[in-house]
């Protein structure tokens, strides 16, 4: 119940400042630029949204930490965390309430890209099941970025530091599936280790979802990643109380 109250307050707070409109406009413009210019949407001559979704990890890498950096740093800076943490709510209520508000906000930005889906249906005959799975996968991936960002934001009063830390850690999670990283390990490490590193990658899981394979393993991967980072957030906040 308290979690819902926190959620409502947080979600409304995005719209009480220009943050919401600035974020949504930039998100939509960048998504469009990536799809049509870098993704060669028309030139490919295929009716699907691959060029659109392929760039999402890179889009999120900078835009999601911009949302998550304020989750806790701002509260610590303004001192309102003292108010929040002395209200009769658990840390879980606060952590999950704040996270879900931010997650739904990003979900809203994602929903506003629906004209992209409409145009591809107008131009051809895409597999809408695949597109739906891709949207879901993209939103889950955004949630994972956000959970990492939430933890980084709890670590520091400074939003700038929270932003940089989040970008770096998210970048590592993206890269861990790239040959660039995997080749370093391939020569000497046992294949179990290489597989384990590859399996941590956002890209591996996201690309399998966006091919339309909504596997249990990929769902579990993103959800447990979110769970772990939110748990870490709660621990960081708990430790600050004793520090």
């Amino acid at each position: 119940m308290e979690m819902v109250v926190i959620f409502k307050r947080e979600f409304a707070s995005y719209f009480s400042t220009p943050l919401a409109s600035v974020f949504i406009v930039i998100f939509l413009v960048l998504a469009g630029v990536f799809t049509f210019y870098l993704g060669n949407f028309y030139e490919r001559g295929q009716a699907d949204l691959m060029p659109f979704f392929n760039f999402h990890p890179w889009l999120y890498l900078f835009l999601v930490p911009a949302i998550s950096m304020r989750l806790w740093s701002e509260e610590r800076k303004s001192g309102s965390i003292e108010l929040l943490m002395t209200l009769p709510i658990t840390k879980l209520d606060a952590v999950v309430g704040k996270f879900t508000a931010a997650w739904c906000f990003i979900g809203l930005a994602l929903l506003l890209t629906i004209p992209m889906w409409i145009s591809v249906n107008y131009l051809g005959d895409p597999d809408n099941g695949v597109i739906f799975a891709s949207y879901l996968g993209s939103w889950l991936m955004a949630g994972s970025f956000l959970a990492i960002g939430s933890c980084m934001s709890a670590l520091t009063k400074s939003q700038v530091i929270a932003f940089i830390l989040s970008v770096v850690i998210c970048f590592l999670f993206i890269l861990s599936g790239f040959p660039l990283v995997l080749n370093v390990f391939k020569d000497w490490a046992p294949s179990v280790v290489v597989d384990a590193i590859a399996s941590l990658s956002f890209l591996t899981h996201f690309s399998s979802i966006s091919k339309g394979v909504l596997g249990f393993r990929d769902l579990l991967y993103f959800l447990s990643l979110i769970g772990c980072w939110l748990f870490a957030t709660a621990i960081v906040i708990e430790l600050q109380q004793a520090d």
């Binding site: 307050r9 009480s16 303004s78 309102s80 002395t86 209200l87 009769p88 658990t90 109380q241 004793a242």
Partner: protein
Amino acid sequence: MIEIVNLSRHFGQLTAIDDISFTVEAGEVLGFLGPNGAGKSTTMKMITGFLAPSSGSISVSGFDIGTQTIEAQKRIGYLPEGAPCYEDMNPLQFLGFIAAIRGFKGDEQQQKVAQVVTTMGLESVLTQKIETLSKGFKRRVGLAQAIIHNPEVLILDEPTDGLDPNQKHQVRNMIRSLSKDKIVIISTHILEEVTAVCTRATIIANGKIVSDCSPAELESKSRYAHAVTLHLTEQQSAATKLSELPGVSEVEVNEEGKLLTVLTEGGQSIYEQVNDLVRQESWQVDALYVEKGRLDEVFRKITEEVV
């Protein structure tokens, strides 16, 4: 009842609170005094569950703040130092949010909000963003959120800091008007506030409690307690005669020799004797009155002893 037992708090090497114990009963208004950095805010942060103690325990209405945090916090209203709040909201939204968190729904929630809005006089700023409000209004919004659920325990960290004299007066009236079965702890460095609203004055310095008594007792510790001051119309050599009176320990004379303060030994009353002497010597006197203890002097004496 608040029960604090052997409470300590360290920040790295620094000992902010050093093994303090005290209890506060329902009906008490406890004024928490002390120099800056003495540990007032740290203690309040621990009572409200924001900071965890390094050792020792705190129970609020029988609930341990460390293990039954939520139950204890339900019974506490807290105004943190500087009255932080969500500045992107307006007072109506903010108080609605606090009321919802405190478990009030629907009509009851609106009624609670309306009630504190009236008590704190916030009607004129209800739909302005809190960040645009003056310091006084922000403080009142902070106080409103602290009392919205009619808590058994009210903890106010410098509630009148930065308010103008009228607002200070209002806040003190509000504290006094709270029902008599509540516990109120306020921290302040304004000494007049202690005599104005508190039933008990606890002085803390260097993390230790150095004095704990009623404001009246604190005043009586002053060397000015029961002293008599005379304003002479013309300069007289009255000091010697006054100092010969029985029970007089010292006579302070100001530079012009017209203002004399007669200090007593062991706090006995000497007004009569001084008055008699004035008549006997037929001194022209503009004013003659008994001094109250000077709290600032007692405060300085007590806290400087520790340092």
